[in-house]
């Protein structure tokens, strides 16, 4: 199987009550004590986490520390400590680095208080004669260090995290790569959502992800925001979620400081070209490429210029990078001699990691040409000028589409728009609706003539209204009645009446 078709496998290793576990592992004498960790707030000290003995005595996270003390029996050795989130995080990173024999890429979950390690174990299981053996070995090793863990392997970070948090003490679970329906049975608590969202869903009687998936994405977005959809897509693998490695990434930099400034363009080009070659020579032996080249130019008068070159795919081709840099430098006008250059390769990744969704069915040669074209266009026109449209679940016409720069990783999953007929929407939508004057025979009725600047347009036919509204509690308050109108000369326009103040606007046309 090629690397492109092999599904990713992610291992989630959860350390429940990590702060307590870390403290007891570093001070084994606390094992028999009643350990309570507190955190200070404006209202006083409250229990953050506690060990099993404290839980058995009735201590619960969130209760005041003074109340927790009353649960201790006379023979209990009560140890109350202040939680230290920074130390917890540092210790978890150390554990992650000790787990490196099990994965090439290990990171922490991205929260303020991480308790999970995330490992990319794609193509690694066979070194341990299977995923079950890998989990068993890892759990045994962590157990010997005094840690209690719950482990899960699945196709996505979201799924592995969700499954690990559904397990009982010291359990392990593997979700087969082909099991697509497994997520439907999971509770919504496994979606890594804020408590407020979970409570709201609970009030609506939604308890499983299966129930959630049956609902319309557009209404979910309008009620719960982007976060819920993002988590659902990440769980299903429809939106990429990367693991940020704990191991500090090596930096690839080539720089040069000069004693005397350079002014001749040819000399300056020779200098940055030699630096670029040196930078690429750092990447090439490891078969790495860059998707983002940052160029820093220092001038004699202490002014600095930065140029960023973003690419659609990783490359280590000096000629290609030089051409893109040249395109940007053409527009630079420096008013002082150049005394320093620093080139840094960012977003370094193995070569051949390109965005392939637009290139399906194309030959390799075509795909390369296309990718180079996008790079050239983005370099000269700017990233924001070369985009791909993605639908957004927003009924407001001007907000119903998002333009994603082609140099960004694109999530193919877009929101299903309501089914539109071919000419339901104008082909040209004005960035700002144009205020117009309208004559209507019936009050609040369709227009019969409209005035734009000095033009009078007689309306021959009219279709509508189509009511588009958006609640004030969700953002901009919009209530509009849209009409498709045809003038006596056959021109088709899209106009609307703003219901708050009955003003008319011309918003688009079939140009």
């Amino acid at each position: 199987m090629s690397s492109h078709t092999r599904p990713q496998r992610v291992l989630c290793c959860w350390f429940p009550d990590w702060s307590v576990q870390r403290l007891i592992a570093s001070q084994p004498e606390l094992r028999r004590s009643m350990v309570v960790l507190t955190e200070s707030t404006k209202r006083g000290d409250f229990v953050y986490q506690c060990n099993d003995l404290a839980k058995r005595r009735g201590v619960r996270p969130g209760m005041p520390a003074s109340e927790a003390e009353t649960f201790a029996k006379t023979h209990d050795s009560l140890k109350i400590r202040q939680a230290s989130l920074d130390q917890d995080k540092t210790a978890l990173v150390e554990v992650a680095l000790r787990c490196e024999p099990y994965s090439f890429c290990i990171g922490l979950e991205e929260t303020d208080r991480p308790e999970c390690l995330l490992m990319d174990v794609t193509g690694i299981a066979h070194f341990f004669s299977g995923e079950h053996a890998l989990l068993e070995q890892l759990q045994q090793e962590l157990s010997s260090q005094g840690f209690e863990t719950r482990l899960a392997i699945a196709n996505t970070v979201g799924m592995a995290w969700a499954v690990a948090h559904c397990l009982e003490t010291s359990q392990r679970m593997i979700v087969p790569a082909t099991d697509r329906a497994f997520k439907d049975k999971l509770s919504i608590g496994a979606l890594r959502l804020p408590e407020t969202v979970l409570a709201k869903l609970g009030r609506l009687g939604i308890y499983t992800i299966g129930q959630l998936q049956k609902l319309d994405r557009c209404s979910l977005w309008s009620r719960f925001g982007e976060e819920l959809l993002r988590r659902m897509d990440q769980l299903a693998g429809e939106r990429p979620e990367s693991i940020t490695s704990c191991r500090p990434v090596p930096r690839f930099i080539a720089s040069r400081r000069l004693e005397y400034g350079l002014t001749q363009p040819e000399t300056i080009e020779q200098l940055w070209l030699s630096l670029l070659e040196r930078l690429v020579s750092l990447l090439s032996p490891m078969r790495l490429g860059t998707r983002h080249l940052r160029c820093h130019f220092v001038m004699d008068n202490r002014s600095e210029h930065e140029i960023n070159i973003r690419l659609c795919g990783t490359t280590a081709d000096v000629r290609r990078l030089a051409n893109l840099l040249r395109l940007q430098l053409e527009r630079q006008h420096w008013n002082a001699p150049l005394v320093g250059i620093r080139l840094e390769a960012l977003e370094v990744a193995p070569l051949d990691r390109t965005q392939r969704e637009m290139l399906e069915g194309a030959s390799h040669d075509q795909a390369c040409r296309f990718s180079q074209l996008l790079d050239r266009l983005s370099s000269r026109l700017g990233n924001e000028a070369v985009t791909r449209p993605a639908g957004q679940p927003n009924p407001i016409p001007e907000l119903s589409v998002r333009l994603v720069p082609v140099t960004e990783v694109f999530s193919a999953k877009t929101v299903e728009q309501d089914a539109l007929l071919p000419l339901d929407r104008p082909t040209a939508l004005f960035p700002c609706p144009r205020p117009i004057e309208v004559i209507a025979v019936i009050p609040d009725g369709p227009p019969t003539a409209l005035f734009w600047k000095s033009d009078r347009l007689e309306i021959a036919q009219c279709w509508g209204p189509e009511r588009i509204e958006f609640g004030w509690w969700l953002g901009p308050f919009v209530r509009r009645d849209y009409y498709r109108v045809e003038t006596t000369k056959g021109k088709r326009l899209w106009v609307f009446r703003r219901l708050q103040d009955d003003r008319w606007f011309w918003h688009g046309e079939w140009f």
């Binding site: 026109l381 589409v401 193919a412």
Partner: protein, 240 residues
């Protein structure tokens, strides 16, 4: 060692060059090129080859605001674009509305929307897209086009396998052009939800079977059909 006659026979070289010159001067094409149909027979007949030739430059001339030239060219562009190839839309006016393009049947996953801020950049982007030979179609709104720039575009599109559609304002009719066909689109009053347009040939490099046609875009299917005027009834005879 055998020698390659193509490189060594000067007569063959001269013949090839003459063929290229003829093709550039008169827009003649070799017969093996597949002509792409617009989806409307009446519109096909307004092109010299009864359809859109790959490697051709077509200008759609607007007759003012909301003329329909853009909408019609996008619909035909979707039809003539090579399958599985990206669609480049160069939109310096920054008004193209992607949801309407999706409704017209354009695959947004293959769409690249370029929004340059200057006319010069728009022209540069158009030429780059053509020269890369990776686009299925390059569609651009170009208001002003010098003779040199037009010639460069023509050469770029001839070199590529794609099609280039330019949307031009009505004033462009007074300017010389290197387009193979220039079509003027005028809106016509319709008596239904499906809009009607009159398309006429302002210039063509070669004979066309028709110079004017009335077409209608079906609102429900998004197809383009020829609009035939209902026959006028003969005047009633006076009954004595």
């Amino acid at each position: 060692m055998s020698t390659d006659h193509h490189f060594n026979d000067p007569r063959q070289t001269i013949a090839d060059l003459q063929q290229q010159i003829r093709s550039l001067e008169r827009g003649t094409v070799s017969t093996e090129i597949t002509i792409r149909k617009t989806g409307c027979l009446a519109l096909d007949t307004m092109f010299p080859q009864q359809g859109v030739r790959p490697g051709s430059l077509v200008e759609w001339i607007e007759s003012g605001t909301a003329s329909g030239a853009g909408t019609l060219s996008l619909l035909i562009g979707r039809q003539v674009c090579q399958p599985m190839r990206p669609i480049f839309l160069i939109d310096p006016r920054q008004q193209l509305y992607p949801p309407s393009l999706a409704a017209l049947g354009i695959d947004l996953s293959r769409l690249v929307l370029v929004r340059p801020t200057t006319k010069r950049d728009a022209l540069w982007a158009c030429e780059e897209a053509l020269r890369s030979r990776s686009a299925g179609i390059v569609w651009a709104q170009i208001d002003h086009l010098s003779v040199t720039a037009a010639r460069r575009l023509r050469l770029a599109v001839e070199d590529s396998e794609s099609v280039c559609f330019l949307i031009r304002p009505h004033q462009a009719l007074q300017q010389p052009s290197w387009a193979e066909v220039r079509l003027v689109v005028e809106p016509q009053p319709s008596h239904s939800e499906s809009p009607r347009y009159r398309v006429s040939v302002a210039y063509s490099q070669g004979r066309t079977l028709r110079s004017t046609t009335d077409i209608q875009i079906d609102r429900h299917r998004g197809t383009i059909d020829e609009f035939s005027h209902p026959a006028t009834k003969g005047s009633l005879l006076l009954v004595s």
